[in-house]
C-alpha cells in the first residue's frame, strides 16, 4: 500500500505545443485572426491587396518595351488579343524617353558629368552624414560644391576657383584686420572682403586667368537642365545654401536684439505663410522686376533663389528646434567657461544642436526635393513638366499612367532611401543619449 506514490517520479516527455499555436497556423492565428475584429480587418486587407495587385499586374505586364508610338503599342496588344482601354501598359514611352526624364536636355555626351557630379555630392556629404566614413574626406567637403557646380555648368575652371578664393580672401582679411583693429572689425572685414571680391574682382580675375590659361570644359546652359537632374540640382543647391542661412535666421530668432529678432521672425513667418507656388510665381514673373534694370537671371537660377529662401525658413525652424532641445546647462556651462557668444555657439551650442537637427534637416530636404515638382507649373521641364511635353509628341499623345508611374517610382526610391537614412540616424542619436 505504502509504495503507492501519488507523485510522478519521472518527467513526461515534452509534448509539441498545439498545432494551432505554432508554425504558420499559429503565426496566422496570433497575427491575423486573433478575434473577430482582427479577422475582418485581415480579410478586408487581403481582398484590397488582391484587387490592387491583380488589376495592376495584368496591366503592367505588357510586352511593349520596343514600341515607338502609342499606336504601335495598341497594335502589339491587339495582336495578343488584349483589347480595351486598359489592355496593357505602353512601356515604349519609358524605354524611349527615360534618359530625357532623367537628364532633360543635357547634352548626352556629357551625361558622365552629371553622374560624376552627383557621386561627388555623395562623397562630399559622406563624412557629414556617416560617422564611419574616413575623416580625410572632410577636406573634400568644402570643395565639392564648387567642383559640382563646375561639372554641371561647365565653362572655365577659373570661375569656381576664383569664387573659392573668396573664402581665402575672407580668411586673410580676418587675420589681417583683427591683428590691427581687433576681433569685431576683423569679423566685419571677413564678411565684407569676400563680398567685394565676388562682386567686383572675381569676374575680371577669372576672365584674365581664363585668357592666360584656358582650362575648361564645355559650358552647358542651365536651360538645358531638365528631368530629375533639374529636381536634384534645385533640391541640393537649395538645401546646401539654406543651411547657413537657416543657422543665421535661427540664431537671429533667438537673439535678444529686438530689431534683429523681428526681422528674422518676419522673414521666417512670411515665407512659411505663403505657398511655394506663389514664391515660384514671384521667381517667374516678378523677380526680374525687383532687380535693377538690365539684370537678367535665367529662370532656373531665379527658381533656385526662391526655393533656397523657402528652404531657409524651414531650416531655421528645424535648427531652432535643435537649439531648444539643448539642455540649458550647456548654455550656462559655456557662459561659466567665459566664452563669448560666438565662441559658445561655435564650440558648444552649434555642434550639438546641428547633430540633433540632422533628421529634421533630412526631412526638410525630402520635402524640398518633392516640392521641386511645382516648377512644372511655371513651365520648367522637370519630370512632371516633361511628361506634358512628351504627351505633346504625336507619337505619345494619350499616354497617362506609364509616365506618372515612372516618375512616382523614381521619386519614391529617392525619398524613401533618404527617409530610411533619417530613421537610421534617429536610432543612432537615441543610443548616443542613453
Amino acid at each position: 500500500m505504502s509504495d503507492i506514490s501519488f507523485v510522478r517520479t519521472e518527467m513526461l516527455p515534452e509534448q509539441d505545443p498545439p498545432a494551432s499555436t505554432v508554425g504558420l497556423i499559429g503565426w496566422l492565428r496570433e497575427n491575423l485572426f486573433s478575434g473577430w475584429f482582427n479577422s475582418i480587418l485581415s480579410l478586408v486587407s487581403i481582398y484590397v491587396i488582391y484587387v490592387i495587385l491583380s488589376g495592376l499586374l495584368s496591366w503592367a505586364i505588357s510586352p511593349t518595351w520596343g514600341a515607338h508610338s502609342l499606336n504601335e503599342c495598341r497594335e502589339i496588344l491587339a495582336g495578343l488579343g488584349r483589347e480595351g482601354h486598359y489592355a496593357g501598359a505602353c512601356w515604349g514611352v519609358i524605354s524611349e524617353r527615360w534618359l530625357q526624364l532623367m537628364f532633360g536636355f543635357y547634352p548626352p555626351e556629357h551625361y558622365w558629368r552629371v553622374i560624376l557630379a552627383f557621386v561627388l555630392v555623395g562623397v562630399g556629404l559622406a563624412p557629414v552624414l556617416f560617422d564611419k566614413a574616413p575623416r580625410a574626406l572632410l577636406w573634400f567637403t568644402p570643395i565639392f560644391p564648387f567642383a559640382v557646380a563646375w561639372l554641371l555648368w561647365g565653362g572655365t575652371i577659373w570661375g569656381p576657383l576664383v569664387a573659392m578664393a573668396g573664402f581665402v580672401v575672407g580668411y586673410f582679411a580676418y587675420r589681417f584686420v583683427s591683428g590691427i583693429a581687433g576681433g569685431l572689425l576683423g569679423i566685419i572685414a571677413a564678411f565684407a572682403a569676400p563680398v567685394i571680391w565676388w562682386l567686383f574682382l572675381a569676374g575680371p580675375v577669372a576672365g584674365a586667368l581664363g585668357a592666360i590659361l584656358p582650362i575648361g570644359i564645355e559650358a552647358v546652359e542651365s536651360r538645358q537642365f531638365g528631368g530629375f537632374m533639374l529636381s536634384v540640382t534645385i533640391g541640393i543647391t537649395a538645401i546646401l545654401i539654406s543651411l547657413p542661412l537657416g543657422i543665421v535666421l535661427a540664431l537671429g530668432r533667438q537673439s535678444n536684439l529686438f530689431i534683429v529678432k523681428a526681422l528674422c521672425v518676419g522673414f521666417i513667418e512670411f515665407i512659411r505663410g505663403v505657398p511655394l507656388i506663389t514664391l515660384l510665381f514671384v521667381a517667374s514673373t516678378l523677380l526680374n522686376i525687383f532687380m535693377p534694370p538690365g539684370t537678367n537671371f535665367d529662370i532656373i537660377l531665379r527658381v533656385i533663389i526662391m526655393v533656397t529662401l523657402f528652404a531657409a525658413a524651414y531650416m531655421a525652424e528645424v535648427i531652432r528646434g535643435g537649439l531648444a532641445a539643448l539642455p540649458k546647462g550647456q548654455y550656462e556651462g559655456a557662459d561659466s567657461l567665459g566664452l563669448n557668444y560666438w565662441q559658445a555657439q561655435r564650440l558648444i551650442i552649434m555642434p550639438q544642436a546641428l547633430k540633433i537637427s540632422i533628421p529634421g534637416i533630412v526631412s526638410t530636404f525630402i520635402g524640398v526635393f518633392k516640392d521641386t515638382t511645382l516648377v512644372s507649373i511655371i513651365g520648367l521641364l522637370d519630370p512632371l513638366g516633361l511628361s506634358n511635353a512628351i504627351r505633346a509628341d504625336t507619337n505619345w499623345n494619350g499616354i497617362v499612367w506609364e509616365i506618372y508611374g515612372f516618375i512616382a517610382l523614381v521619386f519614391f526610391i529617392f525619398c524613401f532611401s533618404m527617409s530610411r537614412y533619417s530613421m537610421y540616424l534617429e536610432r543612432k542619436l537615441q543610443t548616443g543619449h542613453h
Binding site: P275, T285, I289, I366
Partner: protein, 422 residues
C-alpha cells in the same frame, strides 16, 4: 547732495559704439534696420524703374473691371460680368472650402491610420506602413494629378446612366449619382422657405444669407444649450444627493423635437439629382476637381498625421497606463483622462504645421482645374490683365493672412491644452 550717485562721466567715443556692450547691441540693431530699409528701398526703386520702363503703372483699378470668365464652383453668386475682385473672392472661398474639408478628413484618416499602424494585426500594420511610406515619399502634386486621373478614368460618365439598360446606375435608391464629373447628392429644400437676406447691395462682397439656415442653426443651438443645462443640473443633483437622474431622453428630445418641428413647418424635403440633357441636374454637385484635390490632400496629409499620432501615442510612458489602472480607472477613462491629454500635447504642434501645409498645398488646385485663389486671382485674372505684381502680391498677402490666422487659433488652443511645465 549730489555727492555719490554718478560715476565720473566718460566722454563718449565713437569706438564705444562697437566695443562697449552697452551700446553694441543698439549699434547692431540700428545697422540691421538701416540695412533692411535700404534693401526695401532698393527693391521698390528697382520695381518703380522697371515698371516705368515697361510703361506700366501699379494700380488696382483692374479689380473693378468685369472679369469676363466663368467659374464652375461658386459658393456665392457670380457671373462673367462680375468684377475681378469678386472672382478672386469666389476663389478664396473655394480655397477655404477645400482646406477645411481636407483638414477634417486628413485628421480622421490620420488618426485611424496612426492607430492601425500600431495594430497587433501583422497584415494591417504592414499595409498601413506601406500606405504611409507611399504617400510621404511621392510629391503631392503627383498625387493630385493621379487622383484626378483615377477619378476620370474609372468612374462612369453621365452618358453611361442613359438608355434602357444603363451601364451605371445611381446609388442609395437613386439619390446619389457618382460620375466622373463629380458626385451628385441630394440637396435640402424648403417649400415654405423664409427667403434670403441680401447683404452689401451690388458690391463685390455681396452675399445672401438663408433665413432657413439661420432659423435651423438657432433652434439647434438653443436645443444644445438646454441639453447642456439639463446635464449641469443632473451633475448638481448627483453631487448633492449621490443619485443621478436619468436624463438621456430629455437631452435628446430638447434637441430633436424643436428642430423636427421647425423643419416640418418650413416644408423640408430633399431635392434629388436627375439626369437631364447632358448632365445631372438638381442636388448638390461635388465636382471632380474638388473631390480629387480634397482626396489627394487628405490622403497625403493623413500619412504625415498618422506618423504624428503614432509618435504621440508611443511617447506616453507605459507607467502612465499602469498608474492609471492602479488608481482603478477603466481602460476607456485611462485613454480619455490620462493618455490622450498627454499625447495631444505632443501631437498638436506638428498637427498645426500639417494643417498649414495642407492649406498651402491647396494652391496646387491649378493642376486639376479647381478654381481656387491661385486659379482665379493669380491665374486667369493675371493672364487676362497682365497685372503680375498686383495679383501675385495680393495672393501672397491673402495666403499669409490665412496661415497666420490658422496658426494663431491653433496656438491659442495649444496653449490651453498644454501642461504647465515646472
Amino acid at each position: 547732495m549730489t555727492t555719490l550717485t554718478d560715476p565720473p562721466r566718460e566722454s563718449f567715443k565713437l569706438s564705444m559704439l562697437i566695443y562697449d556692450t552697452r551700446y553694441r547691441s543698439l549699434t547692431i540693431q540700428i545697422v540691421a534696420l538701416i540695412g533692411f530699409l535700404l534693401l526695401i528701398g532698393w527693391l521698390i526703386g528697382n520695381t518703380a524703374q522697371n515698371l516705368a520702363d515697361l510703361g506700366k503703372e501699379p494700380s488696382f483699378g483692374f479689380l473693378a473691371e468685369p472679369a469676363g470668365y466663368d467659374i464652375n464652383q461658386r459658393l456665392l453668386d457670380y457671373n462673367s460680368q462680375d468684377s475681378h475682385l469678386r472672382a478672386g473672392l469666389i476663389g478664396l472661398l473655394n480655397t477655404l472650402l477645400v482646406a477645411v474639408l481636407g483638414c477634417i478628413t486628413a485628421t480622421v484618416l490620420g488618426v485611424v491610420i496612426g492607430v492601425l499602424r500600431l495594430s497587433k494585426n501583422w497584415l494591417v500594420a504592414r499595409l498601413m506602413t506601406i500606405y504611409v511610406e507611399m504617400f510621404r515619399n511621392v510629391p503631392v502634386l503627383l498625387w493630385i494629378v493621379f487622383t484626378m486621373a483615377i477619378l476620370i478614368e474609372t468612374l462612369p460618365a453621365p452618358r453611361a446612366f442613359r438608355g434602357e439598360n444603363p451601364e451605371a446606375s445611381m446609388m442609395l435608391s437613386d439619390s446619389v449619382a457618382v460620375t466622373n464629373r463629380g458626385v451628385y447628392i441630394p440637396e435640402p429644400l424648403f417649400s415654405n422657405s423664409l427667403g434670403n437676406v441680401h447683404l452689401f447691395g451690388e458690391s463685390a462682397i455681396r452675399f445672401d444669407v438663408s433665413l432657413d439656415l439661420i432659423a435651423f442653426l438657432a433652434v439647434l443651438m438653443a436645443g444644445f444649450w438646454v441639453s447642456a443645462w439639463i446635464k449641469r443640473r443632473a451633475d448638481r443633483i448627483q453631487e448633492e444627493t449621490g443619485d443621478r437622474p436619468t436624463t438621456w431622453w430629455q437631452r435628446i428630445a430638447v434637441v430633436v423635437v424643436p428642430t423636427g418641428i421647425l423643419l416640418t413647418v418650413l416644408g423640408f424635403h430633399l431635392g434629388y439629382p436627375e439626369l437631364k440633357g447632358f448632365n445631372f441636374s438638381g442636388g448638390i454637385h461635388l465636382r471632380n476637381s474638388l473631390i480629387a484635390l480634397w482626396l489627394a490632400l487628405s490622403l497625403y496629409t493623413a500619412a504625415f498625421i498618422a506618423e504624428i499620432v503614432r509618435a504621440g501615442i508611443m511617447a506616453i510612458n507605459k507607467g502612465q497606463t499602469e498608474a492609471a489602472s492602479a488608481l482603478g480607472l477603466s481602460p476607456r477613462r485611462t485613454m480619455s483622462l490620462v493618455i490622450l491629454p498627454q499625447a495631444l500635447r505632443v501631437i498638436i504642434p506638428p498637427l498645426i504645421s500639417n494643417y498649414l501645409n495642407l492649406t498651402k498645398n491647396s494652391s496646387l488646385a491649378i493642376a486639376v482645374g479647381y478654381m481656387d485663389l491661385t486659379g482665379t486671382l493669380m491665374g486667369i485674372t493675371l493672364n487676362q490683365t497682365g497685372r503680375e505684381l498686383e495679383t501675385v502680391l495680393m495672393g501672397m498677402l491673402v495666403y499669409l493672412t490665412i496661415s497666420l490666422s490658422i496658426s494663431a487659433v491653433m496656438n491659442w488652443y495649444n496653449n490651453r491644452v498644454k501642461l504647465v511645465e515646472r
